[in-house]
């Protein structure tokens, strides 16, 4: 479904990604793990067109994402729930959700999608008229995920969805990811919470200083000596 072929990405003159290649099949949950600064978010931002690769290609359902304007990517059915949530703080919860469904196809089913998001996250319904900036961290994350779902995506990119949340909420985030997969949506997730991520992921790639150094199924990597030492502290 998604194919990343040998991308090199730079911030100015500084190279951040070296020849990164991986793929995500339809219906899979794939994780990208690695330490701070390994290039995980950069990879997602490149897929979403916010950054352009200097070399290599990004293909989604046969379309070259690195060659179309970034605002058109969501139309193809690829939603991105960005790092640090990136809500519109001065807009209400409901307006934030509406922003997820701007494109004609999603807009036509906006009311229906709103109902679905509200029934999954009842807290958001209670707070629909409140400004997004005044929500708690957990609620903001749910809103960011809800906003991503409003576009009726076929695939979602999650960037550190559990970052800064209390353990109970982290649990809830992973439950949501599981629900989304069950609805047939493909997931690519970037996380620092390696143990829980590998537990839900079908496959995972390990990113180290901008290069993919390992890949395997979730359980394979959980058992991998190196991974355990580097990321699980055992």
């Amino acid at each position: 479904m998604l194919k990343v072929n040998g991308i090199d990405v730079f911030y100015g003159d500084v190279q951040v990604l070296w020849d990164v290649s991986f793929h995500v099949g339809e219906g899979e949950v794939v994780a990208l793990i690695g330490t701070n600064g390994a290039g995980k978010s950069t990879t997602l931002r490149t897929i979403s067109g916010l950054l352009r690769p200097r070399k290599g290609t990004v293909e989604f359902l046969g379309e070259r994402l690195d060659q179309i304007p970034p605002y058109r990517i969501i139309e193809l059915g690829l939603a991105h729930v960005p790092e640090a949530r990136r809500l519109f703080p001065e807009m209400t919860v409901e307006e934030n959700l509406e922003m997820g469904a701007l494109k004609p196809a999603a807009k036509a089913r906006r009311a229906e999608s709103l109902e679905r998001v509200y029934s999954r996250f009842p807290r958001l319904k209670e707070r629909r008229r409140q400004l997004a900036g005044t929500l708690s961290g957990g609620e903001q994350q749910m809103l960011a995920i809800g906003r991503g779902l409003m576009s009726l995506p076929r695939m979602i990119l999650f960037d550190e969805p559990s970052l800064g949340l209390a353990p109970l909420l982290v649990e809830e985030v992973f439950n949501v990811v599981n629900d989304i997969r069950r609805d047939g949506v493909t997931v690519l997730i970037v996380e620092q919470n390696v143990r829980q991520t590998l537990a839900v992921a079908d496959r995972a790639y390990v990113l180290e200083t901008g290069r993919i150094v390992r890949e395997g199924t979730g359980s394979e990597l959980l058992d991998d000596e190196e991974v355990r030492k580097a990321y699980l502290g055992v």
């Binding site: 979403s48 916010l50 304007p69 605002y71 990136r86 519109f88």
Partner: protein, 303 residues
Amino acid sequence: MVQLEVFLQTLVSGLLLGGLYALIGLGMTLIMGVMKIINLAHGELMMVAMYIAFWLFHLLGMDPYVTLLVTVPALFVLGVFIQKTLISPVLKVDSILPENQVILTVGIGMVLQNLATLFFTSDYRSTPVDYASDAWYLSDWWRSSPIELSFSVPWVVSFGFAVAITAALWWFLQRTDAGKAIRATAQDKDAAILMGVNVERMTVVTFGLGAALVGAAGSLFIPMYYLYPALGGRFTLIAFVITILGGLGSTQGAIIGGLILGVFESMTATYVGMGWAPVGRFLVFVACLIFLPGGVAGLMRRR
């Protein structure tokens, strides 16, 4: 009683002026919100609109208020043109700092002012409409009123148009998808792109809108003010003060900021002296920077 009358009369004039100021401030604020640069050609754009209105009045005998139908779309197109051909290419260059990108707008302002001088000379112009000095009086409606207030016809009509345009803008920004996309772009550009907003087009539309708003203000001011090429600078300054007063980029703040500035100037003119109004303007500006750096919007957020 006389003192109360003077006070209320001053307040009324201040609010009428403030409503028009709000319109000028709103345009600059919108542009500031989306592009993060202060448009220092803002007053000059208004001057252009005033010349359009003046010539339409002079050559075709069009009423200044009817010229809104021309100045608003014309300034929208001019704004889009300026954004597309001049500002956008400069904004794209990362190595030019935003504070330097602002200088471009100063240059645009200078060019507009000098073109106006070149083509129209620096003569003072006005549109002598026959209702220029008409007024409505409080006693017209309330016979036994203990005090008397007058409402200048052109000021009230201009104020009414300003309120209607502001309300229309408000509705556009709050209720339509395009308006929401503009607000989203102002709040988080990358997130807006991820939602499928064509941020570049929004930027162009926003500059056009900002220019159209100040263009409307031009048509609304011309029945009362003399027009000359250098008039723009003063209004750029006013718009700048309102934008700071409102809290950079907040539309609500800009409306309140405009009203505050109008009332303050009017009060200064009455109680200190006609010539002191600009001093009052700077006083508000400096006081705001010192005591309320977040502007009105900061105050509203703190609640």
